[in-house]
């Protein structure tokens, strides 16, 4: 009996909930419709230019295809080819190598932000000057630096000559071509991370520093135990976005070293993919590499989010 009551009661509430949901739907039908209309454009964009191409990519990566003719199914051949392709590994290695610039750039920009957070004469001016490379077009910057790295007449070696250093022919030298690109990337991105760090540094409540000073903490201790943990969300954001952007490095490679650099020392993964797809027209193979790139980016991002969560726990 009790069971009977329970079930009827359960179905009754369920029914009532269903009824009220139905009433709700009727009441808000107009609102639902309009909300759907308002969201339609980005949803259509997502379906047509993200989901569909992505699905198509997965299929195309299993085919031999030049982009125009028929696609012939070749199973995992593209992926096997990729694993045995020394150029793929070289391009991947180069792409990872460029990321050395990320910690260097972040350290420099945090130091800059700490300096700019103080009452220094002309700090607005400094902020502007350091930010101008960020807004400048990468194509123009790459052209400019390509010339600056010229072995004989370039600005960089002219400057080094002041100190009696005979600079290398940067972009023509397999050992120096990657560092050259890294230096340029740091120069260009410095202002952006500085601005983010500056906002974070200025948001740290003064009371924390006061309390620490009362305890006799010195400047280094205050920096390490207060500033650094407080700007950690920004560091996390910058590391994630820089790695994603770094994995897509293309413009400066293609402009400064149009053939992939001396002994292929500058070719990045995206540059190689682009080359395979649009110059060699092996679209199927290029698609498989592009998918591997996408998956690698995804894995690295997920790992970072995991690590970030774990660090949060250890702090609290």
């Amino acid at each position: 009996m009790a069971i009977d009551v329970d079930t009827t009661a359960g179905s009754w509430t369920k029914e009532r909930r269903k009824a009220s949901r139905k009433a709700n739907r009727k009441l808000h039908r107009k609102e639902y419709t309009w909300a759907a209309i308002f969201m339609a454009a980005p949803i259509v964009g997502w379906l047509a230019f993200l989901l569909f191409p992505l699905g198509f990519s997965v299929y195309a990566s299993f085919t031999n295809w030049n982009g125009l003719g028929a696609m012939s199914w070749i199973g995992l051949d593209n992926y096997v080819r990729l694993i045995n392709d020394p150029y793929f590994w070289k391009a991947l290695w180069n792409t990872v190598f460029y990321m050395i610039g990320i910690p260097i750039g972040l350290t420099l920009s945090l130091l800059l932000a700490l300096a700019l957070a103080r009452r220094i004469p002309g700090r607005t001016f400094f902020r502007t000057v350091y930010y101008i490379p960020v807004i400048s077009s990468l194509a123009a910057i790459a052209i400019l630096w390509q010339w600056a790295y010229n072995g004989d007449f370039g600005l960089v070696n002219q400057f080094l000559a002041i100190f009696g250093i005979d600079g290398p022919n940067w972009l023509m030298d397999p050992t120096w071509s990657k560092p050259a690109l890294i230096i340029m990337a740091i120069w260009k991105g410095l202002g952006y991370s500085t601005i983010l760090y500056l906002a974070a540094v200025q948001a740290v409540p003064r009371s924390l520093y006061e309390a620490a000073a009362l305890d006799g903490a010195n400047a280094w201790q205050r920096f390490r135990t207060i500033t650094l943990p407080m700007v950690r969300p920004v560091t996390f954001f910058l590391v994630v976005t820089n790695i994603i952007a770094g994995s897509m490095i293309f413009t400066e490679i293609n402009i400064m070293t149009p053939t992939g650099g001396p002994s292929w020392s500058t070719a990045s993964l995206v540059w190689y993919i682009w080359n395979q797809a649009f110059r060699n027209l092996s679209m199927g193979y290029a698609t498989s590499m592009a998918l591997v790139l996408g998956i690698l980016v995804l894995i690295v991002t997920v790992i970072q989010f995991r690590l970030n969560r774990r660090n949060d726990f250890s702090i609290e």
Partner: protein, 316 residues
């Protein structure tokens, strides 16, 4: 929307709690307890040292760009002067006439403007409509839709470029500006994200009251929501415009005819073509022209741009 209204606030609370817990030692009062307190008591000597360091850094940041401007006004021979000539002698203003007469810079500017303006203006409307619906309207599953849209940010463009290219090639859009406009005009996920965030600070009552008054949703958007989020739209609009203006990878995939290329592709191609002719000043002139519009916009809206960039980091 202040910078403190973010996850940093919660972390701030826990950090200060932790500090309070560990503050068991008796404070030393043998020195000024407010030493680290405010800017007015900062060490002046340290500030001047930092000023000197920042000035040297500023020279490094500005030198390449100043050199670009200087080279754009030189004769072809003066480029190879040793030591480098910083102030051109003579000034060749004719380079700026030549660059418009002899090259595709003018059509490049036109094409870049068409793409950047149409994408950002129409795209901002789509993005703000979607953000309004996602933040303030009823629709079952809208949070799921938001997550799905956000997931698009995880897919790097190089992974999608090959299938997108083939799609547009099949409908004959290659060598037109349409493939650069259509996929991005439907809304920008980053913009939707920030506007939605911004709208959470707007009380629901405003929308409800207007609804009771019988206003249509389009009217609510137009007369209530849009004026409220205008500053946020403006900030994101400028950042987006700069990103589209400076884009290079998508334009080189689609645009073949010189008169159809965007400015970044035009200057990159000039770099190849004129470098062999040793006409370096002309390349630099074109580069200056590609940077100049963005620089002017930046200098005018500097405060808003820097604030919205700083906000990017604090919203994560």
């Amino acid at each position: 929307m202040s910078i403190t209204s973010n996850p940093a606030t919660t972390r701030m609370a826990t950090t200060s709690a932790r500090l309070a817990r560990t503050n068991r030692t008796i404070p030393k009062f043998d020195r000024n307890p407010f030493a680290a307190r405010s800017g007015s008591q900062e060490n002046k000597a340290v500030n001047w040292v930092l000023f000197a360091v920042l000035s040297i850094g500023a020279i490094f940041m500005a030198a390449p760009l100043l050199w670009m401007v200087s080279t754009s006004l030189k004769t072809t021979e003066a480029v190879y002067a040793l030591p480098p000539e910083w102030i051109p002698d003579p000034f060749v203003w004719n380079n700026y006439v030549r660059v418009f007469e002899d090259t595709f810079v003018l059509s490049g500017i036109k094409n870049s403007l068409i793409v950047a303006l149409s994408v950002t203006i129409v795209g901002s409307v789509f993005s703000s409509l979607a953000a309004f619906a996602l933040a303030k309207m009823r629709l079952p599953g809208k949070n799921f839709i938001f997550i799905v849209l956000l997931s698009g940010m995880m897919v790097p463009f190089p992974t999608l470029m090959i299938p997108q290219f083939v799609m547009f090639a099949n409908i004959g859009w290659v060598d037109t500006l349409l493939p650069l406009i259509v996929p991005v005009i439907l809304g920008n996920v980053i913009m939707i994200f920030f506007l939605r965030q911004y709208l959470h600070n707007v009380p629901d009552g405003l929308v409800e009251a207007a609804k009771i008054d019988g206003a249509s949703y389009l009217r609510i958007f137009w007369t209530i929501i849009l004026p409220l989020i205008r500053p946020a739209i403006a900030a994101q609009f400028i950042l987006w415009f700069m990103a589209v203006w400076n884009d290079y990878l998508a334009p080189i995939i689609y645009l073949n005819s010189p008169e159809k290329q965007t400015l970044q592709v035009v200057i990159a191609n000039m770099n190849v073509q004129y470098a062999t002719q040793r006409d370096y000043p002309l390349i630099m002139t074109a580069s200056v022209i590609s940077v100049l519009p963005i620089l002017v916009v930046f200098l005018i809206f500097q405060r808003q741009i820097i604030e919205s960039v700083a906000l990017t980091g604090s919203k994560v």
